[in-house]
């Protein structure tokens, strides 16, 4: 094989790879917000719990996404007490399982008729319950990659790309008045690339992370007196 052909092959794959490096990691995000009765002075000593919806047959809202939003809010305003999701679900078992979780804020009153549940809620000083519904999925993929191994040498050659989309909606319930006080949604998408010249280099678009930051910012703005 002549040097010219080799150079041509390298250019053929390095070109898209460099483009990917420049373009990779870009994420489109669309955020919609509709909120009422914002606590202008913040939530004080009260606490907030963020829960994921997991009743749909084909997807679950990821636990780590809920954790990410909670961390985002708490790091933005450390005075906001965000109760951990798993600890909350375990403390209130079996009332927040996918089968039993309240779907409307009005149904909380029925839960509060149970004395031990009411007592635990009172001890928590829960002010807002935020439900997150949605998930992140990989979409269409394209490209090809070949990997080989030989005596003393191994490597991959090729280029692959795939999309990722996130769609989440946060519903805010005022726990005192048992009413819905807002909805915030975030739709994000991005393209991931994997060029490989001997070593595959994944260039992953932070689609879920952007959705977390977008939703987290909006929720922080709603809950915090400092934002």
């Amino acid at each position: 094989m002549s040097t010219g052909i080799i150079w041509h092959n390298i250019k053929q794959w390095v070109g898209p790879g460099l483009c990917a490096l420049l373009l990779g990691g870009c994420v489109n995000a669309t955020v919609n917000e509709m909120t009422y009765n914002e606590p202008v002075a913040g939530i004080g000593e009260s606490s907030v719990v963020i829960l994921g919806r997991r009743h749909a047959p084909d997807y679950d809202t990821e636990f780590d996404f809920i954790q990410c939003i909670g961390d985002h809010i708490h790091s933005g305003d450390p005075s906001i007490d965000v109760i951990g999701e798993i600890a909350f679900i375990n403390e209130f078992y079996p009332w927040f399982e996918p089968r039993t979780a309240p779907m409307q804020p009005e149904t909380i009153d029925r839960l509060l008729q149970l004395p031990p549940v009411a007592e635990r809620f009172a001890a928590m000083q829960l002010e807002y319950m935020i439900w997150i519904d949605g998930n992140t999925v990989d979409t269409e993929s394209a490209g090809s990659m070949s990997c080989g191994i030989g005596p003393g040498v191994a490597g991959c050659f090729g280029f692959g790309t795939w999309g990722t989309e996130s769609e989440y909606e946060a519903t805010i319930w005022d726990f005192t008045d048992k009413v819905e006080v807002g909805r915030v949604s975030a739709v994000t998408s991005g393209q991931n690339y994997m060029p490989a010249v001997i070593v595959p280099i994944p260039i992953i678009a932070p689609v879920q992370g952007t959705a977390c930051d977008s939703l987290g910012d909006q929720l922080l703005e709603y809950l915090s007196a400092h934002h």
Binding site: D58, Y59, D60, E62, N90, E91, F92, Y93, P94, W95, E97, P98, R99, T100, T107, R110, L111, L114, P115, P116, V117, R120
Partner: protein, 299 residues
Amino acid sequence: MGEASLASTIFDRESAVLGRYLLVLCIALLGTGCASKQVVVEGNFPTPLLDPLPVTLGVIYPSAFAQHEFFDEAKGRAESDWLVKTGEAQVEFWDILFSGMFEDVVHIRDWETVQSRGADIDGVIIPAIAELQYTIPTHTNVKVYEIWMRYQFRLVDVSALHQQEDGALSFNPEERLATWPITAYGKTPTAFLQTDEEAVNLAAVVALRDAGAHFVTTFGANPGVATWLDGIAARQHNGIGPEPDVGGAEGSRNMDEGSPAIAGDQAATAETAKNGSSSPAEDAVGEAISSAETSGASS
């Protein structure tokens, strides 16, 4: 001659070692496709947040329940045999649930327990796993691990328990107070660095939690159970019966309300109505409860 012999020996030795390695590699590669996977389900189960019903409940875990496992044989070389042992987790989970739901729980594993604690016991519950199904992404091409279970619960009066000649416990099905099915479903999505075994375990734990939620929210909706609870409440109200009226009016109210039935009452009633009477085969399984077959420590 000597050099040739030495070279030959080295060559033979290398080829033998190489051959052995290749053989081991081939066996390992072939074995990978048909290796069996085993999961002993384990998890941390929370105590239910309930006001316990003022009831002394006897519990019998038949051996088929306490040592429950299911085995699925691989249907091709690309699949694996699966052995999932749920028995220990079942007993641990239902022990925690019953202890949180009822004021006193007595594990019945022999006739002596029936004789010594029988007067205190308001009713005896006998759970059974009637059916279990599972799917993994290899089966469905969907990135979800799922477990579905159907339980059959039987509630009998302690007087319906009898000792057979061989010492085994049995009960008269005509004296059965109630029987009802409980379905449970658990799923967990695929996750990075999560093995099939871990995912199946997690799906089983989710299914167990779902079973408990279903049980708690539909317990009082079963007509037979409701009648039984009303009877206990009336006895306690009149000061008759095994337990003093510790719950008083509040205890009676709880039982009248069918405990904390918040969701799924109608669905449960419909399901009970449809499957309320078990098949003769199921009854036959439930009638004889060998003392050797039961498990769980007496408390």
